[in-house]
Symmetry: C2
Subunit: 156 residues, 2 copies
């Protein structure tokens, strides 16, 4: 696990922030190299699937030409929701590293530990990595949303 990869994921979260999206970013690493990235683009793409993790998994499958992401680690700035956690398990990622906990909808550890629920061997899960930085970008985003009176993006 390397903090530099969470810093990279934070760059993609920042891109999402600049696009007016809830700022979540992800990178997928294999053999110490980033092979895929993703950022939340639900509003821009008008697509419920366009979470950072789904975009990163989609890009990783294309990069490797395989639905199995063996040997891969995902770094994502926010704890995955149920859809994304299911996708992470389905794609056989070895390791999941996430930053901020999502106590409302997180399905890696907070609301439920999906890996235990599905009796899945993979992935190994590490939560709360660079937690303060990952929480701060979300807090900053929702402060901007509240101050601008635009509550659309809050309905995640």
């Amino acid at each position: 696990m390397k903090s530099e990869y969470m810093l990279e994921a934070l760059k993609f979260a920042k891109n999402a922030f600049n696009d007016g999206e809830i700022p979540v970013g992800a990178v997928i690493v294999k053999n110490d190299k980033i092979i895929a990235t993703g950022e939340n683009h639900r509003e821009k793409k008008n697509n419920a699937l366009s979470h950072a993790e789904i975009e990163a998994i989609n890009n990783a499958c294309k990069a490797l030409g395989s639905w199995r992401l063996d040997g891969c680690t995902m770094y994502v700035t926010l704890e995955p929701c149920m859809m994304c956690m299911g996708a992470i398990i389905n794609s056989r990622l070895d390791t999941l590293v996430f930053g901020a906990y999502d106590t409302r909808a997180g399905c890696a550890d907070s609301l439920v530990n999906s890996k235990s629920l599905l009796s899945s061997e993979k992935p190994e899960i590490y939560g709360g990595i660079m937690e303060e930085k990952c929480e701060k970008i979300l807090k900053d985003f929702f402060d901007v949303v509240r101050n601008s009176g635009n509550r659309k993006a809050e309905n995640s």
Copy 2:
């Protein structure tokens, strides 16, 4: 709820069968009209995301130009896995109608009722619709796989 739409979903499951994929098909209906379809293509597309439900949601979001699938019903031949159930909840589909139960990995009712877990109002869920037909195509597929000695597709 109309059985004709489950028959349509079964046609897409049959397409998947003919492509050597685990036969699952889905259609999304709005205002009594099919607006999107999907079939399992994980092997063909080498993509862990390419379940029938994900393809159908992706196509429905594109068709409606919206990430919110309000007023829509999904008909799918097999109970959704965790990834797909999360996507169904995220996309705010009104209703989910599924055929066969998946006692191993189904996250609409069997392994877990994800809607209750997430305290989500949507979707309404109806399971076991045209269950025998939906189970039969899966049984037929795995019989073919076993008889041919090709066990790749069994590792779902």
